[in-house]
Amino acid sequence: MNAAVSAAENTGFDIDIELRRGDARSGFRRAFAIRSEHRVIAVVGDSGAGKTSLLHAIAGLLRPVRGRIVVAGETLFDRERRIDLPAHRRRIGYVFQDARLFPHLDVRANLLYGLRGAGARERRFELDAIVELLGIGHLLARGTAGLSGGEMQRVALGRALLSQPRILLLDEPLSMLDMNRRDELLPYLQRVREESGLPMIYVSHYPEEVRRIAEDVHRIG
């Protein structure tokens, strides 16, 4: 890892970027400034405000036109210092708004995809435990094509956790789950938050959900 460690702050987020999508005239262009001491923050904002775009930038999938992204003391991106860690080296667990499961792999192989890359270092999440928690044991041998909306979301969440990330980005991870499942998962996410010590960004439209998980809420847009 050739990311420079900023001595100043070793937890929290220091994000100050400007994003652009589409062409200059009619496209989307917005600056984001999120500075927080907290380890787990929520990002809320209207539909189209740029929440997903922000997460993409942090994950290394969208290059900001200027600014920098520092998470937990590690500089992921800094335009001026010409730092731009490629996505696969950022070790970010990203639960996409659209699950993005691999259609050529079954559920088990989807879950294990990131595990293989992660190696044995700091294994925090184990397959059996995750499968149990998300209630997807009966799906393991299935392909992804017939999964229901909520099932896809759970597999995507499991896959992200199993890649043993150092940062978690969650883009409406529970939006398709029923209340029971949601009530089961939220405490687990709270436990992940406590025990893993991972920085997390949580995007959701539900104030109640946000309040239960995040220490700090940022509204954008």
Binding site: A59, G60, L61, P86, A87, H88, R89, R90, R91, I92, G93, Y94, F96, D98, R100, F102, P103, H104, L105, D106, Y113, G114, G117, A118, A141, R142, G143, T144, A145, G146, R159, A160, S163
Partner: protein, 234 residues
């Protein structure tokens, strides 16, 4: 000439076996290049891309004899590339079955690349992004996500190349001539029979062999596609 088998003369059986060898070698050896070029054309931009794209179609656009002649100029014992290859790597194409395979591979290349490129273009890049966030480096993304998803195009490209290799004749005979047991493929044999009055029944017999071989190739590829599809729709 020895005894034949199942109504085929020994020479014909040799030609059939040779055709299989040539077609298989042409397909297998050109596949990596086909994938590489297909990926370059599908996923990158570079100056002169349109030119590369056009040049790739050359073996299709020119009469096969011209392609064969160009191969002769380049890859024969006297040709600039052929000389280097044989002196430094011991690879000889001239008048060898390897030359027939090279000619077939070149003739089938545009077909193979087109199919592979189409399939790679159809792969959802968002899945490649997801793989990257899961820690997969570009190589793993390519071999673990892009290529498996482009699988139908890969197989289609391989079958097209194999079929073309079975039927290829003009470039092959111009480049490596027609040497029994070495470069006389099924197609050359059929072509030869076409030149002889009254040999139509022989043409038909050998043509049926070519059809049977291509049937096997098509069948195998359909089976491989179905198998992958079944695997993902459980």
């Amino acid at each position: 000439m020895n005894e034949g088998f199942a109504g085929f003369s020994a020479a014909e059986l040799t030609a059939i076996a040779l055709s299989l060898k040539v077609a298989a070698a042409a397909t297998v050896c050109s596949l990596p290049f086909g994938v590489a070029v297909g990926w370059l054309l599908a996923r990158t931009r570079f100056p002169g891309k349109l030119l590369v794209d056009t040049l790739m179609y050359l073996p299709l656009v020119l009469p096969p004899v011209v392609t064969g002649y160009a191969l002769l100029l380049g890859f024969s014992a006297q040709g600039p590339i052929g000389r280097v290859l044989s002196e430094h790597f011991g690879i000889v194409f001239a008048f060898r079955w390897t030359g027939a395979a090279l000619a077939s591979a070149i003739m089938g290349f545009p077909l193979m690349v087109r199919a592979i490129r189409l399939s790679i273009e159809a792969v959802d890049r968002r899945l490649e992004q997801a793989a990257a966030t899961l820690g997969a480096n570009p190589w793993r993304v390519f071999f673990g996500v892009t290529l498996p998803l482009a699988w139908p195009g890969l197989l289609a490209g391989a079958v097209l190349c194999f079929a073309k290799a079975l039927g290829e004749f003009g470039a092959t005979i111009t480049f490596v001539s027609n040497i029994a047991g070495e470069t006389q493929t099924l197609s050359s044999a059929i072509w030869g029979l076409m030149q002889t009055p009254g040999a139509e029944s022989g043409v038909l017999r050998l043509a049926l062999v070519a059809v049977a071989l291509s049937f096997a190739a098509v069948f195998a590829s359909e089976w491989l596609v179905q198998r992958q599809r079944a695997g993902t729709q459980r």
